[in-house]
Amino acid sequence: MHIDRRERNFIIASIVLMFVFAVFILVSSFVMKIQVPQAPVPLGRVNPNTVATPGVSPWGDPVEERLRQVGPNQYEVYILGQAWSYQPAQITIPKGATVTFYVTSKDVIHGFDLQGTNINMMIIPGQISTLTATFDTPGEYKFICNEYCGIGHQTMFGTLVVEP
């Protein structure tokens, strides 16, 4: 098959370009550790119909107990999404804290987009979404639902307060 020389060079350059981009992406995810959400290991599944029941899972615990300190400057927070709010809706942590978020839904699919961080996850009933971030800058960070979940979708958000 005849391929014009200029076209052939363009094809080679295109393929090389895609490889270069792919390498950058893989470095950013595996070396710099900017990772996408995954289910926690071992297999993280919950039953959305019972997940909020007290005593059944961490998401059933009282709201005040959802943020847990697990080490010096290390926290875990168990957030439950539901139409149309997060529980807890306000979380306060000290500057420098590293927080692992465990989020699930008791009804429909929601989003969880924590502004100013790389944390952006789909919250799917039956599944647990998890990502970790470290908060070095004091301030208020909103986490917003970015997946349509009904008529009140645009009101669904929470606030993470990082104290100085």
């Binding site: 959400p37 289910a39 979708h153």
Partner: protein, 544 residues
């Protein structure tokens, strides 16, 4: 010779355009709401209960009904004219039209009654009326029947012309329908096996992660179903319209085969942020997605080279002077060339979305509608307008009503789209403003968003005006008394070179086998995993 297929093409295209008109009305309404002007309260008297019902109508009518009817209508015209023989079984294609209309009505009624405000992706466990899902299934089956009519015509032509390569336009159309047949298997399984029985109460619960995955098996090749007809025009018609030739017909055929093979094994790039998909499958499909970008880069080279031939034939000189020599007074060319320019930006923003962890910055922000209005809303829709500027006069046997109006339409679409999609991209990237949201009523919206919301609103209003210009011209064309002074011919690009192209570009089996293997490798294990771990626990929710 083509009386039946021409008439059927006209009906499909006309119905598609009617759908786009209604769906398009909601665009400016949405932009106004985002900027703080909520007209939905007054619309409640007209039966639109909410922003989200309007958004469901906007997306279903624009992204499913307009596109599918136009594409099938376009192919109903192109295939007979390209093969120089009428459809072998016109009754099949006519039946397809009626089946699609039945499906459309069955889907539209629940949406209009506010029983299916689930948006066009209908993610479970939001649950619509069963008629919504059944209607969608019937609509898709109708589109299959249209494809079977095209396949039958193609097979008959091949028997009548043994050993001859299929003319390029018919070839591209048939590959597009083959891709559609494969792609729709995902959503068909989702609807028939899981969602319809659940919505009818025959199964108590559903697994939303499973359903989402089956939808996106379909959802990515869907965009190539939209895009390939535009590519078909850019490769196979526009070069003729600019006095040029198709720079490399073998490469164009190769690109269509590559899309057949690579469009499906990539759907999980819409699910990078899903918790229930193991990382290795996200990475594998990220790799396939980057491979899928290459045929579009090839298209850029081949199409621009073809245009350059035309520009230089028309007397253009210099490195870029040939661009000015192109027929900018021809609205069909101008609309399609502006569509190509917008697509370049849409392709780039799409590549960003596909870049695995880069998706963290972009997913479900307004960057996403910024992206897809450049692709389906411009590369596809504005190209279809460009095609309509010769095809509708051809089918009506009347001249285009107002050439200057058509040019104004193309340029206003271009300018409106740049403003609107720039605003949406920036809002999403800088502020993580969410998509699919009544931003005007969002308590977390910041005053800092306002300038971009206004930019996006101005763009959206200009697009609305542009749309009206298009419809005025279409209605003017078909209702005027004037007849076309000379018969309008379908533009068919000639190849620049006449080298024989290799046999493997004209044979299906290796490509279909490769497509099947890639789908098995990329989706087999992950679907097996999801099925093995499936928990049908979610009941339906009606939250609107």
């Amino acid at each position: 010779m083509f009386k039946t297929s021409n008439k059927l093409a006209a009906w499909n295209i006309g119905l598609g355009m009617a759908a786009l008109f209604i769906g398009g009305l909601f665009g400016p309404l949405q932009k106004l709401e985002h900027a703080g002007i909520n007209l939905y309260t007054s619309l409640q008297n007209l039966g639109i209960a909410s922003y989200y019902q309007g958004l469901t109508l906007h997306a279903v009518l624009n992204a499913i009904v307009w596109t599918t009817f136009f594409i099938i209508g376009f192919f109903t015209f192109v295939i007979p004219h390209s093969l120089k023989r009428e459809l072998t079984n016109p009754k099949l294609n006519i039946a397809a039209f009626y089946i699609m209309v039945v499906g459309l009505v069955m889907t539209a009624v629940p949406i209009l009654l506010n029983l299916a405000t689930v948006l066009f992706t209908f993610y479970t466990p939001l649950m619509a009326s069963p008629f919504f899902y059944i209607g969608l299934t019937i609509f898709v089956v109708g589109s299959w029947v249209a494809g079977w009519g095209f396949f039958a015509t193609y097979i008959t032509w091949r028997k009548e012309h043994p050993g001859q390569p299929v003319p390029f336009l018919a070839f591209g159309a048939v590959i597009t329908m083959a891709l559609w047949q494969i792609a729709t298997l995902g959503v068909a399984v989702e609807l028939l096996v899981f969602v319809i029985p659940w919505s009818l109460g025959w199964i108590e619960g559903t697994d939303p992660q499973m359903n989402r995955t089956l939808l996106w098996f379909f959802g990515h090749p869907l965009v190539y179903f939209w895009l390939l007809p535009a590519y078909l025009s850019w490769y196979g018609m526009v070069p003729k319209q600019v006095g040029g030739k198709l720079f490399s017909e073998p490469m164009a055929r190769l690109v269509f085969w590559l899309f057949l093979v690579l469009s499906v094994p990539v759907g999980i790039h819409h699910q990078f942020l899903d918790p229930g998909i193991p990382q290795r499958w996200k990475l594998l499909q990220f790799g396939f997605t980057f491979a899928l970008f290459v045929p579009s880069l090839l298209t850029a080279f081949n199409v621009i080279a073809s245009l350059e031939i035309g520009g230089r034939n028309r007397g253009g000189t210099g490195l870029l002077g040939w661009i000015r020599a192109l027929p900018w007074d021809d609205p069909s060319f101008t609309a399609q060339n502006l569509a190509m320019i917008l697509f370049a930006f849409g392709g780039i923003s799409g590549l960003a979305n596909a870049s695995y962890n880069m998706n963290l910055a972009l997913h479900n922000t307004t960057w996403i509608p910024g992206h897809f209005h450049l692709t389906v809303g411009s590369a596809v829709t504005l190209t279809f307008f460009g095609i309509a500027y010769w095809l509708v006069p051809k089918l009506a046997n009347k001249p285009l009503w107002n050439r200057k109006l058509a040019l104004a339409q193309a340029w206003t679409w271009f300018i409106g789209m740049i403003l609107m999609s720039n605003g949406l991209h920036a809002l999403g990237l800088i502020f993580q403003a969410p998509r699919r949201s009544m931003l005007g009523a969002a308590p977390y919206a910041s005053g800092e968003w306002q300038p971009l919301l206004i930019e996006s609103l101005v763009g959206g209003l200009i697009l609305g005006v542009s749309g009206l210009l298009f419809y005025a011209n279409m209605i003017g064309t078909v209702t005027q008394k004037k007849q076309a002074p000379a018969p309008i011919e379908m533009p068919v690009a000639e190849p620049y070179r006449n080298d024989p192209s290799p046999a493997w570009l004209h044979t299906w089996r290796p490509w279909l086998i490769t497509a099947a293997v890639l789908i098995l490798v990329s989706y087999g294990p992950v679907l097996t995993y999801l099925f093995a771990n499936m928990e049908l626990t979610s009941p339906g929710f009606k939250l609107w």
